[in-house]
Symmetry: C2
Subunit: 524 residues, 2 copies
Amino acid sequence: MVASEQAESGSTGGGRRAARGGGRAARQAARASAGKTAPAYITRQIGYFDLLNEETLDLIERNADTVLEEIGLDFRGDEEVLQMWRDQGCDVRGERVHFPKGLCKKLIQDTAPSLITQHARNPERTVKMGEGNTVLVPAYGPPFVRDLDKGRRYGTIEDFRNFVKLAYMSTGLHHSGGTLCEPVDVPVNKRHLDMVYSHMRWSDKPFMGSVTAPERAQDTVDMCKILFGADFVDQNCVVINLINANSPMVWDDTMLGALKVYARNNQATVISPFILSGAMSPVTIIGTLTQLYAEALAGMALTQVCRPGAPVVFGTFASSISMQSGAPTFGTPEPSLVLYGAAQLARRLGVPFRSGGGFTASKIADAQAAYESANTLQTAALGGVNFMLHTAGWLEGGLSMGYEKFVMDADQASMLGRLLNGPDLSENGQAMDAIREVGPGMHYLGCAHTQRNFETAFYRSPLADNNSYEQWEAEGSLDMNQRANAYWKKLLREYEAPAIDPAVDEALLAFIEQRKSSMPDAAY
Amino acid sequence: MVASEQAESGSTGGGRRAARGGGRAARQAARASAGKTAPAYITRQIGYFDLLNEETLDLIERNADTVLEEIGLDFRGDEEVLQMWRDQGCDVRGERVHFPKGLCKKLIQDTAPSLITQHARNPERTVKMGEGNTVLVPAYGPPFVRDLDKGRRYGTIEDFRNFVKLAYMSTGLHHSGGTLCEPVDVPVNKRHLDMVYSHMRWSDKPFMGSVTAPERAQDTVDMCKILFGADFVDQNCVVINLINANSPMVWDDTMLGALKVYARNNQATVISPFILSGAMSPVTIIGTLTQLYAEALAGMALTQVCRPGAPVVFGTFASSISMQSGAPTFGTPEPSLVLYGAAQLARRLGVPFRSGGGFTASKIADAQAAYESANTLQTAALGGVNFMLHTAGWLEGGLSMGYEKFVMDADQASMLGRLLNGPDLSENGQAMDAIREVGPGMHYLGCAHTQRNFETAFYRSPLADNNSYEQWEAEGSLDMNQRANAYWKKLLREYEAPAIDPAVDEALLAFIEQRKSSMPDAAY
C-alpha cells in the first residue's frame, strides 16, 4: 500500500487533542480515506505570475536570435550533428554553428508537442507535463548523501534504493527522478543499469534515464523496451532525460550523443542550459534569459531534426554566484526573476518547461536550507514549471542528497499541489450557509459546513509541529530535522514494493547481467 | 551610522576568497558604497499575482454585501458608533448593524486615500504605502522573546529597545513597528508610553501606536504632537495603528475606541479581521474572503464616517487551524490563496493592503520556521501587500519574538525588496556586449560588463553560508541560527542612536512622567 503523507500525520501529535470540528467518527473517516491514491500529477487551476510584458519577451527573442546568428553556438566533437545543421541551412565554421534567424523556433513550433505524456508501468501513475500540467521530481545528481545519524558520506546503491522508495511513498512527488544519488559503490560504467533497474523495480512511478554516454542511453532504452514492450516504447514516451548545455553556448559530444539516442527513440529530453549567472552567463536577468533561451532553442531544435515530434522540454537551471567568493548561491531574488521570465518564454514557444526545485547552498537541513528552498519552490510553482526537477532532497548546491531534507521538501511538494489547485468556487466553497448559520460572535468549529468539509479543508503537514509550546517541550523540544529523521525511517519501515511481472523482472536482471559481464569495471 | 546588512556580509566569510570578478579595488569600492542609505520603502516595479478573475471578485463582493445587509455585524459597547451607523441609514437592531448594499464601499471610495504617506521624524525615512509602494514592518504583539543563549522568556522593555535598534539597523525593514514584544516588566497601563518613546527615541523610522485603550491611543497622538508639532499631526499621518476585528463579524469597544481617536486625529488605521479559518471563518477560501471583506469594509467605512479622508488600510491576518487539534497553522497553501484574493479586493477598492509576514507555528528558528515564513513572505510580496506587518521575528504563532529569527527574516525582507525591483531592461541589463565579448566556452567572471556590474548584481546575504563543505566544517559547522546569533549581537554592539532635539526628548520624557504619575500601576 502506498502510504499517504496525509495519513501519517495522525500519529505525529495532531490526533492527541480533541478534534473539535469532527470528533472520533470524523477522525476514523479521515483515516479510512487516507489510503486513497494521490493525483498522479498536478492539473493547474490557477494562473501564472507573468513577470515580463510582451515587448520585453519580444526583445529577448530578438536578442537570442542575434546570439544564434551572429555569435553562434559550438557543437563539439560530433560531426554528424554539424552536418545536420548544415543540412538545415546553418553556416557552420569549424564547430561553431550560426543559425538563420527564426530557424530553431520554427523547427520546434512545427513539430514539438506542447503536452508530453510520460507513461509509468502503473498506468495510474502516468504523468502529463505541459499545458498547465505539472510533475514534481526528486533532486538529481548528488555524489553525497546525508542524514542526522551518520552525517555526510558518499552515496551507495542502497541509498539510491532508499530514495526511490521514499519518492514512491511521497504523495507530493509524482516521479521517481533519475540520479537520486551517485551509487559510488558500483563502477561508473555499470551503475546506470542498477539505477534504472531500481526505478523500474522499487517504484511504479515514471523515471529518468542515463545520459552519461550514448551507450548508457541505449541501455536505458533497451531496458524500457523489456519493461514496456518495444513497439510501445517507439510510439510512447516512457523515459525522460536531462541534457545539459555546457554554458555559455556549448553543446558537448556526451550530451549530444545521449540527446540523439533518446530523440530518435521518441523519448523525452529536457534541454537545459545549466547556468550560474556571473560565471556562465551575464550578471543581469535579461542577459541571462537571452543566452539561456538561445542555448535551449538550439538544443530543442536538434531533437526535432533527429525525430520530428520527439517530446522535448525547455529546461533551465539558473542560479547566481557570490561575486565575492565565486560560490553558487540559491533562493535569492535574481534567479527567481530569471525563472519567471524563462517560464514565459517556454509558454510562448509552446513546449513544457523545466526549472526550479528546493535549492539551497546550506550543508544541512537548517533554516537557511528551508528559506532558500521555499523561495525557489514558490517561484517555480507560480512561474509555471511543468517538470520540477530537484523538488526534494537537495542540499549543498546539489552535492548532497539529504534524507531529512527529502521528506521536508516532499511535504512542501504536497503543499504546492494544493496551492495550484486553487480555491473552490462552488456554492460549498462560497460557504454562505456557514456564515448565516454561525453569525456574529460565534465560532465555526462545529457548524454543519465545517463538519462536511473539515477533512479536506486544510493541508496537514506530517512534519510541522503546531502544538503548544508546553506540549512541544514535553515531547522533547524537537526541531523539524529530528522529526523528519523519525519520519523517513518510518516510511522505509512501512514500504512495500509494488508488484512486478516475474518474467519481466527476470528479463531485466538477465539484461543487466549480460551488459555488466560484457565490459570490465571502469571509473569513467 | 545606519549599518547596512549588505556591508556586514563582508566579514562573514564571503570576502575571504579572491573576488574573481573584481579584485581588491572592486572590493574596496563595494565597501565604500555600502554605507549608502537603503531605500525608505519599496517602489514596486513588477506586476501582481492575480489569483481570481473579475467574475469571482464580483461574486465575493456581492456575497459580502449580502453578509453586511442580511446577517449584519455587531458593534459592541459603543452607543456613539451605533448612532453614527443609524445616521448613515443603517438598520440597527440592538448592537447588530445591517448595512444598505454598497454603503460601506461608497463611503470608502468617496474619501479614503489610495496612497498613504507616513512621516518619519527623519524625512529620509518617510514611507509611502499603497499604489505599488510597500513597507516591511517587524512582528507585532509577542509576550515572549527567544534567543539561542537564554531560550524563551517574557519580554522586557530592554528586549523591546533591542528590537527597535535591530529594526533601525535592518536595511530590508522600513518601519519600526509597534508592540515588538510586550515589555512585561512595565505595568500594563503604562507600557504604551515606554514603547512609543522607544520607537521615537531609538529609531528614526516610522512607527505604530497603542490601541489597547482609547486613552492610550490619545497618549500616542499627544506624544506625536510633541515630536512632530500639533499642526503637522493634524494634517499629516505620523503614526499607524492596528485595529483588529473580533471575527466573526464583531467590532468591540476597545478597538472602536482606538479607531475613533486615530481616525479623528487623521492618523492611519489598519482595519484587520483576525482570522483563523475553521474557527473564526468558514473552512473555505471564498467563504473566508467573503467574511473578511465584509468585516473590513465596515471597519474602513467607519473611519471615513469619523473623518472623511482619514488614511485607512485594508488589513487581514488570515491563517488556518489544524482541524485535528484546533492549533493554528502557518505557511500552508490555503492562507496563501486567501491572501492573494484579499489583495485583489483591496486593489479593486482602491486602498492600501496589509497582510502577510514571516509566519510560523514553530517554537524555534528551524527549518519549519523558515519554510513557513518564506512561503508567506513570497505570497505577500507577489500578492501585493503594501504594509507587511510581522515581516521579521515571529515565532510560535506570534507568541514569541526571536532575536535570531528577526535578523533571518530581515535578510529575507531585503531579498523581497530586490525581487519587487524586477529586472533591468536597459542596454546594460540586456548585456549583449557581454555575450559578444565572452562567446562560447569562456566565462563571464572577468569580462568588462561583469566588472561594471558585479557590485550590485546579486543580493548578498549576511547570514547564508555559501562556502564549500570543507570550509563550513572548518568554521565549526554552524547552522543559520548560530550565525544569526552572532549577527544580531554584532548589530547591537555597533548600534548608534540617531540624534534627537534635546528639547523634544525632554518634553517627551516630561509627558511620560506626568502621565505615569497620574495613575496607579495596573495589570490591565
